[in-house]
């Protein structure tokens, strides 16, 4: 991945609603060149007390937060998001092996894009609400540990 610069400004992320699951540790706000190919990462050491589900949640929160950056193209930009649920389905072990990740998580979440029409976030799944949210989106993501870093791999909408 091409990082031009990476400045971590750590502060509590309060984007999630009360119904959203809590992140194990605060997600950082990243100042990096925006890219849809952005890969969320975290040091293994920082998350050593966390469960796989919490690690996936942390990384996915970071991945969504990346699209709140003002540098993000309008098509991709988010005003807000909520992570509703992170599951580790047993029936996705074969997918994890195929995708060369340690485990696969199924994430249910909602996003509020800056604009709904023609937003990237409309694609795939989710229900558009009158308030401009896209509720109940679903993605499969993988987590791989390599060189003391956890990396998030966004797999897709389905297996």
């Amino acid at each position: 991945m091409k990082f031009i610069s990476l400045i971590l400004v750590v502060f509590a992320v309060s984007a999630c609603s009360p119904t959203a699951i809590s992140s194990p540790v605060s997600s950082p706000t990243l100042t990096v060149q925006w890219s849809i190919e952005y890969i969320a990462t975290a040091s293994v050491d920082a998350l050593k007390q966390q469960s796989p589900k919490e690690i996936a949640s942390y990384l996915f929160d970071q991945w969504l937060n990346h699209s709140k950056a003002s540098e993000a193209p309008l098509r991709y930009r988010l005003e807000d998001y909520q992570i509703r649920e992170v599951e580790l389905p047993e029936n996705l072990e074969a997918l994890a092996k195929e995708q060369s990740v340690d485990f696969v998580a199924a994430v249910t979440f909602s996003v509020k894009p800056t604009q709904v029409p023609y937003s990237y976030w409309v694609a795939g799944n989710g229900t558009v609400t009158e308030e401009g949210w896209i509720k109940n989106k679903f993605l499969l993501v993988g987590v791989v540990e390599k060189d003391v870093i956890y990396k998030l791999s966004v797999i897709g909408t389905g297996p």
């Binding site: 098509r75 029409p117 409309v122 694609a123 795939g124 799944n125 797999i155 909408t157 389905g158």
Partner: protein, 394 residues
Amino acid sequence: MFKRTRPMKFMRSSSAVLLTFLSLLISVNATPLATVEASTVSQTKAQLADEEKIKNVINAYFKLRYEGQKLLKAQDFSYLLADKNRNWVQAEKDKREIELYVASAYNLNYMSYQYTLDYESIQISLGQATVHLREGHEVVFAALAPEVSRMANLEHIITLTQTKNDWKILDDEYQDELTRLMAEKNKDVIIEQVRLNYAADAQQVRSSVFHSHNLARLAYQRALTSHSYNRIAAIQYADYWATKRNVTTYHNETNNDCTNYVSQALYEGTSHTMSTPDNYMTKWYYDFPSHSGSYPWVNVDGLRSFLLNNYSNGGRGPKGINLQSMCSLQPGDVVQLRNGSIWFHTVIIVVKLNSSCSEASFLYDAHDVDRFHYPLSYLSSYTKRYTAVVGWND
């Protein structure tokens, strides 16, 4: 309201032989059923309230229609009518004739049926009655057996007039996909289109792309569609782009490309016909200048809703029907997956290996994760919904 049209006087020569045969099949021995006559006899029983008499007449009227579809013989309902010469009567006869033609061609006679008439109101005044009801049914088409097909909430407004002790039907106003089609085309044109669609389907089934001998899924709506879905074109596109992206033409919805990809394949099957881009949420289109698809183009629920509602909306683009099971799926049809309460993924069927009704018999292509000729059984742990593409509107 259904605008009925007059039938053409002459059939087209190309279909004359087949139509003549079917017409004979349909019209000869067109007799009311004894069971139905019992309902009219019952009208003479003075103790029956007017409402009951009216319901008996209406029930007989519907029973004859359903029995006709079961026996593949037109049933004479004229004895239930106040005036046999009204325009709507001829239109209703034409409609039933078309239905029987389709049923004969596609083996879609009813093996069994159960209909419901949900009466919303019966207003009686000065010897006339106006009845609002909703028709529903569960039927088993011969070609689809044992799959049960359902229809619900077809609204009818039926007017009746009182004659001595009887009630007779003056009019039946309702609107379904066939009445809408008949508002634009007469009976003979529609039957000719059915014949052409049937020939096109039969040719496709004979082609090497298909391994199925089963015409079962060529359901009623498909037979009546004004434009046949080009399954081969859709499948070829899906196969070619299954593991890559057509980024010179379409935007890649990274990690969320499943429905965008299937829409592209459907677009090939509709001879590049998409909706007029005037409603982002309800119309199915790709906006090439901005490189973006509309909500139905890119979203699982959006696509499903568009396909199933493209009868009443009349939007340009593909139209589909819900299938109760996978048994009637054919290459080019759409399958979607559910996790919990969320319908989250769209795939397109590209091969049917044999005639058995098992997930291993169907192969699909998909994006995100990209799949080429994967067996549907790979997705066996998910709840699925099946949408058969039946044609397209222009």
